[in-house]
Amino acid sequence: MTRTIVLAAATALLAAGWLAPGWAADRKMVVIGFVGLERPLPSRVGPLDESPVDEGVAGARLGIADNRTTGKFIGQDFRLEERRLGSASEVSEAVHQLASMGIRFTIVDLPAPALLAASAAAEQAGMTILNAGATDDRLRGADCRRNVFHLAPSRAMLADGLAQYLAWKKWRRWLLVVGSGEGDRLLAAALRRAADRFGAEIVGERAWTFRPGQGRSDTGHVVLQAEVPRFTRSSDYDVLVVADEEDVFGAFLEGRTDSPRPIAGTHGLVATAWSPVAELWGATQLQGRFRGLTQRWMTARDYAAWMAARSIGEAATRTRSTDPATIAAHLGAAEFLLAAFKGEGLTFRPWDHQLRQPILIAGPRLLVSVSPQEGFLQQGNRLDSLGVAKEETTCGLQ
């Protein structure tokens, strides 16, 4: 406890420029904030599921640990100041409080409205927000903000990654099944856009309106065995594409659809930034470090938060500086390059501050593919066929 207070005080003094750089055992501290919401313990859909309470923040902690190892060789140190809030209404206050401690970078794992509140609160303090949770396209479009960088991919990027793979497979006729959540509706919109871009046809669309969570009751399988075939009856299609971000019903579909067709989207072949099955390009090492820290698998949310913490570390290392303005400038600079176990260096799009990144197509036990697929590559950066390209952006950053 004493140590925390001392560090916090030292940080405030350092930020105010009152301490000589030689203080704190010659290591200059960068404190990174983390703001997320306390989530109710997720109800497990199946008996094999893990239900982490530290999803997201655990990735940030690992990123800090990696930064510290690097930092010790060049006199830099890193610390995470965590705030887990009971309600989104507390976000502005939390950001103000972090800012008053001298913190100038905060990783947020928040829904879009709360993220915009965090961005507004951060603005006054000159704080940069790193989005490690929200996939909303509007945050990269009409509601983009100059002080926000997006580590999480947008729904458009996820949908495009999936659509490219399905196009490569020539599975062009989709039956789209959409959940009742706001995120499901937005993902469905991204999937329709992706279908259009990559030559797929949505032959039918279904809204899942059944009551949730009966899959494991004694009679659940009997009900589902009757319901799902009726629900998925359709003119012929190649693949059932499911938008169920909250994992309410997607798991009920496999093995029960009316026609024997593969399932893709949020279930089956999952389009995601990260998955426990990722092991290419040295990913085994990151998975191993994460599992050593948490005794569980690393999710896409953990991965985005890890990348957020590492981005700050990378910028501090490259510029050999702990000055917030210098670090922030490097995040937005053309030389910024993040190594994140995706086989190539990752950079931010200058027009919307979105981190370009390959999208994994993950099966339940093994990686199936990685998009972009050959044949859809863009002029310029090959990753710009995923998501909103410069010509289409509605964000006014550039």
């Binding site: 060789f73 090492q285 990753l383």
Partner: protein
Amino acid sequence: MRTPVMAFLAGTATALSVQLAVAETIYVSNELDNTISVINAETLAVVATVPVGRRPRGLALGRDGRSLYVAAGDDNRIDLVDLATRETTGHLPSGEDPEVFAVHPDGKRLFVANENDNLVSVLDISRRRLIGEVEVGVEPEGMAVSPDGKFVLCTSETTSMVHIIDAATLALVDNILVDTRPRWAAMSPDNQQIWVSSEIRGTVTVIDAATHLEIGKIGFEVPGVDRQLVQAVGFAINRAGTRAYVALGPSNRVAEVDARTFRVERLYLVGQRVWHLALSADEKRLYTANGNSSDVTVIDLEKQEPVASIGVGRGPWGVAVGP
């Protein structure tokens, strides 16, 4: 795979056949098969496949000329392969998850990168015991010892540094920031320069070994291949210090570099995702391990072209050349 090679050899001028009649042996670690492919360099045939520990990557010949050391990452040990019997005869401790190691020129010690623990472990070969460790950056990978035996080099991939370690005291002499995800390091034969490859930036940085300042940066361009896929991985410098050969990963090329001017002279098309490479003893040939196409490309450096491709196990990663 062998047939076209032999046909090619048969149909070539005698001079070349003589030149290719190299009495040496090529050893290739197959990361996904847990084996070492043994290739007769004269016939270019795989003459033995030696089972070793799990996920073999780094490999090197012992100074005694009788054994091959193989880092078996998933078994946390270094296997000893007897070159005469072509069997695994034992193993050495290595610390956790050994990936790459370097043998000291005196043949007594071996320096291992423990990728999961951010450590370099020091092994006494004859006593088969770990006698020291050095804390380095995140994901240590490339390992080298200077030809004069004074310094050990280690690259850390996520930290993006080359660490210089005093081989006698095991003290960290310096930690030099290099381009992103450094994979391989070597000291030039005259001990004057440190070379480091960067996978993600796709460059090789050359550092003055006395001042520790950067004196050169080598970039690579492959026509028709995305810049992001032109990545620098393993490399080798010839004994005279005049030529360097750099494996360019998923661009499926090896670059030949003038090691004095740092100019890229030419590119060789090799198999897919070339990881590491080794020169023949006479330095007239280069052997490359191509991870995704599971083969070894043989480049004739006098003719300046690839002359053969040899199928090996799955996921070939490292190459070593012995008698």
